[in-house]
């Protein structure tokens, strides 16, 4: 199993909403609106802003997701880091005008990639572990 395995796992969810990019952008960047569809938060659309999403705590998890705003490109792209369970990932929203509305693509990546300094706290990170997961699973065959 290679130490440099680049088995990045990415989750992509896409949908076309029958609403303008302006409206969708507001729903993605106004804290109170984000709280209505995603989670309670102290988000601000400013690169470098550190914030948290807060879900109801459950046993073994305090319900906090630590984030930092990475990209704010109005009406086009929004990205923030997403740290939960010691697993650092990056969420990227891309808006594209579409017929009758706006296409929204959510890509969450980094399940297997090395992350920047913000996630280097753990001596042995989930990133590396999950990056090697593909190889481990492949060995089953």
């Amino acid at each position: 199993m290679s130490e440099t395995a680049e088995g990045t796992r990415t989750v992509v969810v896409e949908r076309t909403f029958a609403h303008s990019p302006q409206k969708l952008w507001r729903a993605l960047t106004e804290s109170s609106l984000v709280g209505q569809w995603l989670m309670k938060n102290d988000f601000e659309p400013a690169v470098g802003h550190k914030f948290q999403f807060r879900a109801d705590p459950v046993p073994n998890w305090n319900g906090v997701i630590d984030c930092e705003v990475l990209v704010v490109d109005p009406l086009k792209q929004l990205s923030y880091s997403w740290g939960a369970f010691g697993l650092g990932t990056v969420v990227l929203f891309t808006l594209t005008p579409a017929e009758g509305g706006t296409h929204l693509r959510m890509e969450q990546s980094g399940f297997g990639a090395n992350q920047d300094a913000a996630f280097k706290g753990a001596t042995y990170g989930w990133q590396k572990f999950l990056g090697n997961l593909d190889a481990v699973i492949a060995e089953l065959d």
Partner: protein
């Protein structure tokens, strides 16, 4: 989120692998094949009782199996037990699809 977190926490495999040392031990076993507790202790850089404790947790999650040979206990990985972790990652997709449904509802409410 709540649903997916509960699923994650209900999973002994996820709990067992939530600890960095246990992840390291488990992956060392997948890399090197069968190892004695002594070898794993050298690798992990923690005390042997600590390693034994970690191995017990991994064993309960069915991530490793062991056999005794003389005075040594040998451990090996059972990578097939990782399947629930893969499922857990897949749940992230379900999480976002559900949130998109709620986003749709929010957009409808906005003027």
């Amino acid at each position: 989120m709540v649903c997916f977190v509960k699923t994650a926490n209900a999973n002994p495999v996820f709990r067992a692998l939530a600890d960095p040392t246990r992840r390291a031990i488990f992956e060392e076993l997948t890399r090197q094949g069968e190892q004695t507790v002594h070898a794993l202790t050298r690798y992990a850089g923690v005390s042997q009782p600590a390693v034994s404790k970690h191995l017990t947790v991994l064993k309960r999650a069915r991530l490793v199996r062991h056999r005794r040979e003389g005075r040594e206990t040998h451990y090996r990985a059972r990578p097939d037990a990782l399947a629930p972790v893969v499922d857990w990652l897949n749940l992230y997709g379900a999480f976002w699809r559900e949130r998109f449904d709620q986003l749709e509802a929010v957009l409808e409410r906005m003027d």
